[in-house]
């Protein structure tokens, strides 16, 4: 524990069903990864939301800078042909 007054922040990922991916569902404070797992269990999975939990300390995540959104994301906007929107998905295919 580096700072005794403020526990570090952890990002929580929960897999809701086997076969699906883990999804980010929020963040919480904990002094270490074990405690983060237990806290995540209590905060995010007590209504039967999950079958697996990942925790990652937030400082280990490298995030893109919102100032760079222009060069990173905008060029994709006028290239509709990159989106698979021209065919109908069969109903059986879920979670696309």
């Amino acid at each position: 524990m580096s700072d005794k007054k403020n526990w570090p922040l952890w990002e929580i990922f929960v897999r809701s069903k086997n076969g699906l991916e883990h999804r980010h569902c929020g963040s919480l404070h904990a002094s270490d990864s074990e405690m983060a797992l237990e806290n995540a269990r209590d905060v995010y999975t007590r209504r039967n939301e999950g079958v697996s939990i990942w925790v990652v300390e937030s400082k280990n995540i490298t995030a893109s800078n919102p100032e760079h959104n222009g060069e990173l994301f905008e060029p994709a906007q006028d290239k509709v042909y990159r989106h698979p929107t021209f065919y109908d998905l069969p109903d059986e295919v879920k979670h696309m």
Partner: protein, 251 residues
């Protein structure tokens, strides 16, 4: 009542969960951190869920038009049969954890035996509860180790809490008349047989937590026979307030 011993026996089990659940519920919005606050109230809700199963069964046994709520809410202090340990106040987080830990170790062992009861309802309730209690035990044991093996201050507070609550541990293994009859019938758990394993499990965790196991041999009992510490009256007045003030209210 036809089966008064069974009725009293169920109450003896249920009241522990009811009173401890109420104590933990007091922490709602007052836990030391958001996460531990949610954890404590989660455990509280688990216990209240268990309590409902027991009191529904007790109401069926009593068969005198009382509902589960009547049994839970409308008894007098002397009619509650919980052990003294669970009614002790949330003095500080160390006390809350120590009380939980000292009860969880017992609760887990008790339910493992109750699963084998000849009474199929009690056995089914025990099977349902034990998963929850396994988590409670993991949660409280972890915190005993964190606080005991933490800072100078947390260690001192944890030691004080264990020392302060130790006097209530022996009562867990005390048998009432109803207990003895239920054991004989194969319905109840012989708690005297759980004692050695209990103290050895407690000792293992305390050792890992660098907490001294108290040596005091002075123990208090009485709760199982309805003789409580002064704390229970205050707890009950809060628990029963709504039903006493607005009789038969529902929402």
């Amino acid at each position: 009542m036809k089966n008064e011993n069974l009725y009293n026996y169920i109450l003896g089990i249920a009241d522990n969960s009811l009173i401890l659940g109420q104590r933990l519920g007091e922490l709602c919005g007052h836990g030391p951190t958001l996460e531990t606050d949610i954890a404590c109230t989660n455990i509280s809700l688990d216990l209240f869920g268990q309590v409902r199963s027991y009191f529904q069964y007790a109401a069926k046994i009593a068969d005198d038009n009382r509902t589960e709520d009547d049994i839970a809410m409308l008894r007098k202090e002397r009619e509650y049969k919980n052990v003294l340990l669970v009614e002790q106040p949330n003095t500080n987080f160390a006390y809350t954890i120590a009380r939980q830990f000292l009860f969880d170790i017992y609760h887990l062992a008790f339910l493992s035996e109750l699963e084998k009861s000849k009474d199929l309802t009690l056995s089914a309730i025990a099977k349902k509860c034990i998963k929850e209690v396994r988590y409670h035990e993991r949660f409280s044991s972890d915190w005993i180790k964190r606080l005991g093996d933490g800072t100078e201050e947390s260690k001192q507070k944890m030691q004080e809490a264990i020392d302060g609550l130790w006097t209530y541990t022996d009562e867990l293994f005390h048998q009432t008349e109803a207990d003895k009859i239920m054991v004989k019938q194969g319905t109840g758990v012989d708690v005297t047989k759980l004692k050695d394993a209990y103290y050895s499990s407690v000792s293992d965790v305390l050792k890992e937590a660098n907490i001294q196991m108290p040596e005091s041999k002075y123990f208090q009992k009485g709760g199982k026979d309805g003789i409580h510490t002064e704390h229970l009256g205050y707890l009950l007045s809060e628990l029963q307030y709504m039903q006493r003030t607005y009789p038969n209210m529902e929402w």
